[in-house]
């Protein structure tokens, strides 16, 4: 049964399929596992970050610190590895730091009763500043362990590869879907997104959930940072500026309501893929500039925001008519 709340998600999937079909009509080569595999690999760090962002937005919040935290973890890992720490240990440390940082932001948002927007803005400055303090230059990484990870892949038909990064991202989405729909934490996040006040009256532990939520978002940002480090084999404090915007765009284009409370984690995957598809198309075309990506994403954002307004208006009107009819 198709329910109204799933309409944005279905629209996203439909747009992706249609857009992909149009691309293939023009460039038949785009229909290959190689292109699909690259699509996943190239957008892995964005996808992982977007999983965290989905939860934050579902709760009615926002995390502006994501791009900075990604940069920070990548620089931290690079600096640690340069200093002789084993990458695995460096990864663990970086994830601990980013998770702790997120938890701290969640605690601040709850304790100070301030909008997430402002608190994570401070977090954005702080993380970027900390990355600068570690190193202002790009720090290259070369280590056998990193090479090993980069070399891992699952072979797909016709020279396609499902790389370690792509697997990592898909895994992040699996975890996200399970967390959202099969755990109490996920239900609590949706509840807070619906109404913080009602959620509290219904016994949702606000403080715990907020801390867990932003810790999760910090963890995913950290994981995205690791993915980015693997992807570029370097840590650079000026990198991934504005990734939080791409992540937000992916979440909204994926059908999640920016005001919170409604949306699907899986939708975000398609939001990310649509962004990647546009970039791939531009590469295939060869004459278009990359800034068209931003304009198209902006247009899609606009379309989805208006679509959700319309759905809301229609369902409100229906509810009004239902209750007018005497329930």
């Amino acid at each position: 049964m198709i329910r109204a709340r799933h309409l944005p998600f279905l629209a996203t999937v439909l747009i992706f399929v249609l857009a992909y079909a149009l691309c293939v009509l023009q460039f038949p080569n785009m229909l290959s596992f190689r292109v699909l595999g690259n699509l996943l690999t190239d957008n892995a760090f964005l996808g992982i970050a977007a999983v965290g962002m989905t939860f934050v937005i579902l709760s009615g919040g926002i995390d502006l610190s994501m791009g900075s935290v990604i940069a920070f973890t990548s620089v931290l890992v690079a600096v640690l590895v340069r200093a002789g720490v084993h990458p695995a240990l460096a990864f663990a440390l970086a994830l601990m730091v980013s998770t702790g940082f997120g938890a701290l932001m969640g605690l601040t948002i709850h304790a100070l009763k301030m909008p997430a927007f402002v608190v994570t803005l401070a977090g954005m400055f702080l993380a970027r500043g900390a990355a600068f303090l570690l190193s202002t230059d790009s720090v290259p990484i070369s280590h056998d362990f990193i090479k090993l990870l980069k070399g891992l892949f699952i072979r797909l038909p016709d020279k396609g590869k499902l790389s370690f990064l792509a697997i990592l991202m898909l895994l992040a989405f699996v975890i996200g879907v399970i967390l959202a729909h099969r755990t109490r934490f996920g239900a609590n996040v949706y509840a807070i997104g619906g109404s913080e006040q009602s959620a509290e009256l219904m016994g949702v532990p606000l403080r715990k959930t907020m801390v867990q939520l932003y810790a999760f978002s910090g963890f995913m940002a950290g994981l995205a940072g690791l993915a980015y480090t693997l992807y570029t084999s370097a840590g650079y404090s000026l990198a991934t500026v504005g990734v939080e915007l791409d992540a937000i765009a992916a979440v909204v284009v994926g059908g999640t309501l920016l005001t919170g409370g409604s949306g699907l984690v899986l939708g975000t995957l398609f939001g990310v893929l649509i962004q990647g598809l546009i970039q791939t198309y531009i590469v295939f075309d060869g004459t278009l500039s990359s800034w068209w990506t931003k304009i198209v994403i902006g247009l899609l954002l606009f379309a989805f925001i208006v679509l959700q307004r319309l759905i809301l208006l229609v369902s409100e009107r229906r509810a009004a008519i239902r209750s007018a009819a005497g329930g």
């Binding site: 601040t108 402002v118 970027r128 500043g129 600068f132 303090l133 931003k294 954002l301 606009f302 925001i305």
Partner: protein, 332 residues
């Protein structure tokens, strides 16, 4: 105007920041005259603050309506790009000004229509232009960094009138004009009413949609002005970096100025002081010889400190304290 007392916290903060910088680098307060123009670190603060100060003027009004305008940085890039293109093509300055300001106005109206008439949350509505804006700017410049050499237009960024650098005059004038516009008319009161309780305001006949539209339009105009100053200053347009993250600085300036993100009472003067505080910190860190990397960390610390002081949770605690002190002799 007459409410100097309400500016005490911001003035005090600015004073402390300036004093600290003065202690670290004693030359900070010295102002000299060279070639008939004022020079000195203090003057530099006034010049550098211009973009954020201009944005803060418009942002104050937007935030007072319970809104937010994330697109101002991107609008700066767009208007800067169009201005640079026109100047490079040899159009006279008045035409450039007119076109760029109109474009800023259009951007503001676009945001305003989404917020006021389609009832889209401001943070979401302005995100669209924030994301797409830089793409549009690059569309205008053709993806390259446009440069030009036009002394008449550059005057906006690096000229001086009676020794005072033009950017300072521009942001002061904009602050004054908008300040007078809202306080000498009923605009300010009506904007505050809409920000505090839009439903109730509409029920007494306040044209809330029109007012909200107007604030975003003013914000767009301010952003256009800021975009042109930056373009004039660097003699070119960089669609990628012009105004990058300045929307956040402008929001910060407004928050430091004491206007609540929940809308309502506002003060443009206080926001301008907020902008000055931010710029003084930037300049102070620069001339104190600290690495500029500290800038962001200091900013983060400032946000956290201000947040803590302004947070409803802390305010409640302080209120209880105040009440306890007041209760002596007063009947409950």
């Amino acid at each position: 105007m007459t409410r100097l007392r309400q500016l005490y916290p911001q003035l005090l903060a600015l004073g402390v920041v300036l004093l600290l910088i003065g202690l670290i680098s004693p030359g900070f307060f010295s102002v000299t005259v060279q070639n008939g123009r004022l020079y000195g670190s203090l003057i530099d603060v006034g010049v550098r603050v211009a973009p954020v100060a201009l944005l803060a003027v418009g942002m104050t009004l937007v935030i007072a309506t319970k809104g937010i305008d994330l697109s101002v940085g991107a609008v700066m890039a767009i208007t800067g790009a169009i201005a640079a293109t026109l100047v490079a093509d040899g159009h006279p300055v008045p035409v450039v000004l007119l076109v760029a300001l109109s474009l800023g106005l259009v951007c503001g109206l676009w945001n305003g229509v989404l917020v006021a008439f389609l009832d889209i949350q401001p943070i979401i509505a302005t995100l669209i232009l924030m994301v797409a804006g830089r793409g549009i700017a690059q569309l205008i410049t053709g993806g390259v960094i446009l440069t030009f050499n036009d002394p008449a237009f550059s005057f906006l960024g690096s000229g001086a009138v009676m020794g005072v650098p033009t950017p300072i005059l521009i942001w002061l004038a904009m602050g004054l004009v908008v300040g007078l516009l809202v306080r000498r008319t009923a605009l300010g009161l009506l904007i505050e009413a809409v920000g505090i309780n839009r439903r109730a305001s509409m029920l007494v006949g306040v044209r809330a949609r029109f007012l909200i539209l107007a604030t975003y339009a003013i914000s767009g105009l301010c952003a256009a002005m800021a975009g042109m100053i930056v373009t004039a200053d660097i003699h070119g347009a960089d669609a990628n970096n012009a105004g990058l993250w300045l929307e956040l600085d402008a929001i910060l300036a407004v928050v430091i100025g004491g206007t609540s993100l929940a809308g309502g009472r506002f003060s443009i003067t206080a926001s301008l002081i907020g902008a000055l505080i931010i710029q003084s910190l930037n300049t102070g860190i620069l001339i104190s010889g600290w690495p500029p990397e500290f800038n962001l960390i200091v900013k983060a610390v400032v946000i956290v400190a201000i947040l803590t002081l302004q947070s409803p949770a802390v305010a409640e605690e302080l209120g209880v304290l105040r009440d306890l002190l007041r209760r002596k002799g007063a009947k409950p």
